[in-house]
């Protein structure tokens, strides 16, 4: 296991991981996005899940990253409005319709 002072989240590479049965905090943190994206192989995902559920440092960290991803999705999909585009499309469609007559 790793030291207790540092919170997880310092991993700089998404690659790698150990082979033993118990994951360290670093190993779990390295898989954080793949885990949250549902992209880990089932056995690896299960290992991460088991670690995070029982770890008082990783549990809030994983929740934090999940909140971040949800937030990016919600805000990022915000529609945008353009009167110029609307006018342009209306003109285009009118032309198309005229040509099809």
């Amino acid at each position: 296991m790793t030291n207790d002072e540092q919170p997880p989240g310092d991993a700089v590479s998404p690659e790698g991981g150990g082979t033993s049965d118990e994951l360290s905090c670093e190993e779990a943190a390295r898989n954080v996005f793949e885990y949250l994206d549902g992209e880990l192989p089932p056995d690896r995902s299960e290992k991460v899940h088991r670690h995070v559920e029982m770890c008082r440092r990783c549990y809030p960290y994983f929740n934090f990253e999940r909140a971040f991803l949800d937030y990016v999705h919600d805000r990022g999909m915000r529609p945008a409005r353009s009167a110029e585009l609307e006018e342009r499309l209306n003109r285009l469609l009118k032309d198309l319709e005229d040509r099809e007559r």
Partner: protein, 181 residues
């Protein structure tokens, strides 16, 4: 007005704002390019309208056309892609810096929408496009890899870096605004 035209208006044109928003994210906030992209998308949809099954998800159909149109164009432009600069410092989670103050990431919600959108749109294209595909559109790594013709490992690392950059930027903004210390 023809029946086709009426139908197209009520089923497809109503999604214009969603398409334009997505187009802006894809093009990095380039208004002219985003407008062209929406126009190309709707033009293709109009021409293929008899292939669209009324009652099925028109928005999903249109966003797929938009995505494919953008990516085809991207591939043409990126025949010789510029190398991406890697900045290790910007690629850490902000969590260690604020876990004592805001472990649940409540500060994100205080950031105005426009700032988030600007932060996404200003990411370098190589990072922005995988992020838009994965985090906005919810597309999986394998499909992104096929769409962008890059290995899954590259999708993973670009997405990782895109998210870290975005998070760091929003964190700096929140500190500047006094939302967090």
């Amino acid at each position: 007005m023809s029946a086709k035209h009426r139908e197209f208006e009520s089923e497809a044109l109503v999604h214009m704002d969603v398409l334009y928003g997505l187009a802006l994210r894809f093009t990095g906030g380039d208004d002219a390019a985003a407008q062209d992209l929406v126009q190309d998308t709707l033009l293709k949809a109009y021409r293929a309208w008899d292939k669209f099954e009324s009652g099925t998800n028109c928005r999903a159909w249109l966003t797929t056309i938009l995505r494919n149109t953008f990516i085809n164009d991207l591939r043409r432009r990126q025949a010789r892609p510029a190398p991406v600069e890697y900045d290790e410092v910007a690629e850490r989670s902000v969590y260690p810096q604020l876990h004592e103050e805001d472990a649940e990431g409540g500060f994100f919600d205080r950031i105005v929408d426009q700032e988030v959108i600007r932060a996404i749109e200003e990411l370098p294209e190589d990072f922005r496009v995988p992020l838009v595909l994965a985090d906005l559109e919810g597309i999986g790594y394998q499909e992104i890899s096929e769409l962008l013709e890059i290995p899954v490992g590259t999708v993973k690392s670009r997405l990782f870096r895109a998210r870290r950059r975005l998070q760091q930027r929003l964190y700096r903004y929140a500190v500047e605004m006094g939302y967090i210390r």
